[in-house]
Symmetry: C2
Subunit: 351 residues, 2 copies
DNA sequence: CCACTGTACGTAATCGTTTACCTCTGAACG
DNA sequence: CGTTCAGAGGTAAACGATTACGTACAGTGG
């Protein structure tokens, strides 16, 4: 493969001149520039980014650790981060941890070895302690979705309290008083905030908190399904369910359907995250959207600020506003649901 | 950051010895090895992969070009490829082309500049001509999902003919004679093969091919929805729909629901790809699964064979067997659908 | 005519590894 | 005792860029 030396030789100039033509880092006469460009063309010269990286100690590469890119929420994050990175000239090394702590540690090592310029991390298990070696080596890190303490570690998160509050309030506004909640793993800050939002909305409307209406899942459809089943088995089952993410909401809808009940007529369902899919479920799913493109841009900018030493010394946390999206899964009396309601009352009559 | 020289100095040996300890490339006495390992430990030495790459002209990096990782099928591919790559010690640079030809070309340039060791490519637009520069530079390429002609370009694809044949046959076996088909963009080889499979199944069962029952989509739910609407508007609408992917099948189910019809009682639906989500739709969606983990492993092995010059000169194409998965969206008379059938006959009576 | 300035470009060290060649030492052997 | 050989490990030249310095030359002002 042609090197900068080959180009220099063919153009009859030094490698310095070629490099400066390439990067626009110093004035080059038109004559010389043209000869260099011609030589590049002729040799199909493609600069070696590896050599460049070694010399300038910057790889224009960012590591992205996500639990599993097959989960739509993370896929969206990966996509938006990639776009944001590209805009700044960076590439993304994708790391699926598969929820494994060991795997995460392996990735951290690998990314350090590869001398990534920064890291974006979505992880439940890693803490500031594990990230310390990166920071010591001057590789900045931004947490996404989950906040972590620790100086110099920035985070971007959604306002979980407000999101849960909005979702619950919406259900209350629709006339529901018994609202089930399918939570995530309970020890995380995210879960604590969302539960607080849920309780706040209930309290403001004089609805007593009922422990029985809370069950926990792991963000996958099957646990949404089993959780909803459990809720529907209660002597006084809920008329609405708020799930901590859309996938569990999907499972909940499945459970409701399997019971021969209807969404939203018998049980309303609302999710969280706002993955694209929610538009296309039957019925379309209400949800609390996380504005991932915006969050990704913010994340990337924070990271770039650190990479370019433009950031303040202290860690920053940006909290982003969630957006409530109301669809048929919580809204009564659309054409379809009306028709269904009449069916279901017939059903009742027949039983 | 500590370098190999620092380690050598601290251990009182040469950099050659440190390197050989690191890579196990020649015998080192126990005494020296221990001193080196100790020094590494003490300095928190982490070898610089960039420098190594420059020296050995290998980056242990593979480029992956996909249209959009937010589409579940591609997300699964990305995940499985990443696992396969990791097993062989490679990392993945993720490239979302967003279906843009320009973007794809940009990525090709960037990946060459980064000196990736190989490329896995899912693209409708790129052809052998665009890949030629990579091959000339000795960067092997494997096509996934879409075959391309050209020496030295390997491909891994599903047996599209057989998949479509199986899907159609399954619907026929369930008693359907009018089977709608929502196809992809018609010029691709994939589409041609699937249509042939569909027609073959019809023909074998004495069902005339009806042009009216074919409409085309772009693999997104909205076109599945509009396609299905169009089919349902026919004077003699289909009783079953075969969509070229699961996302369009999802849209088709939505259209059917919006009509107040039921899946599968009024119209059966089957998709293609076998994305995880199909298990959790209402009702669960029948589909023709592409065994992506297996296909990814094959793809990666083909690529590694080329990288290590272990491959024959000619291009190879591996055609993988699809797996039919039958779920409630095509199977009648489950407990739930029975109940629904009685409802829908009531409905008819009431109209 | 000299000193100075600005323009254009070249020289060569450097980034952190790997690895082809050497060198050294001590043991074995005839 | 000289030769050979194996074992252990060192030296230094790459890999392909960037960039701090240096140099040559033309123009300008005093």
């Amino acid at each position: 493969m042609a090197t900068i030396r080959d180009v220099a030789q063919l153009a009859g100039v030094s490698t310095a001149t070629v490099s400066h033509v390439l990067n626009g880092t110093r004035v080059v006469s038109d004559v010389a520039r043209d000869r260099v460009l011609e030589a590049m063309e002729e040799l199909h010269y493609q600069p070696n980014a590896v050599a460049r990286s070694l010399r300038v100690s910057a790889t224009l590469t960012i590591g992205l650790i996500v639990p599993d890119v097959e989960i739509p929420f993370f896929a969206r994050v990966a996509h938006c981060m990639e776009i944001a990175a590209n805009e700044a000239g960076y590439s993304i090394i994708l790391c699926n941890s598969d929820w494994s702590f060991k795997q995460e540690l392996r990735y951290l090592d690998n990314l350090v070895a590869r001398r990534v310029d920064g890291l974006i991390c979505i992880s439940l298990l890693l803490t500031a302690e594990h990230i310390a070696p990166l920071l010591k080596r001057n590789i900045p890190v931004v947490w996404f979705e989950q906040k972590r303490s620790g100086r110099l570690i920035d985070s971007v998160i959604i306002d979980n309290f407000k999101g849960a509050y909005q979702a619950t309030l919406h259900l209350i506004t629709q006339g529901h008083r018994r609202i089930g909640c399918i939570t995530g793993l309970s020890h995380s800050l995210l879960s604590i905030d969302r539960l607080a939002g849920y309780r706040q909305a209930l309290q403001e409307h004089g609805i007593a908190f009922d422990e029985q209406l809370i069950c926990s899942g792991d963000y996958t459809p099957p646990t949404g399904l089993s959780g909803a089943k459990q809720l529907l088995n209660l002597s006084e089952p809920p008329t609405a369910i708020f799930a901590y993410n859309d996938m569990m909401a999907l499972g909940a809808m499945q459970a409701i359907n399997e019971r021969g009940l209807r969404v939203p007529d018998d049980v309303a369902v609302i999710g969280f995250d706002g993955i694209a899919l929610t538009e296309h479920t039957c019925p379309p799913l209400s949800t609390v959207e996380q504005p991932i493109p915006e969050m990704s841009k913010i994340t990337m900018n924070m990271l770039l600020d650190r990479i370019n030493n433009r950031a303040p010394y202290e860690s920053r946390t940006v909290v982003v506003e969630p957006h409530l999206i109301c669809r048929s899964s919580t809204l009564g009396f659309t054409a379809t649901t009306q028709q269904r309601r009449s069916n279901s009352s017939l059903e009742v009559a027949l039983v």
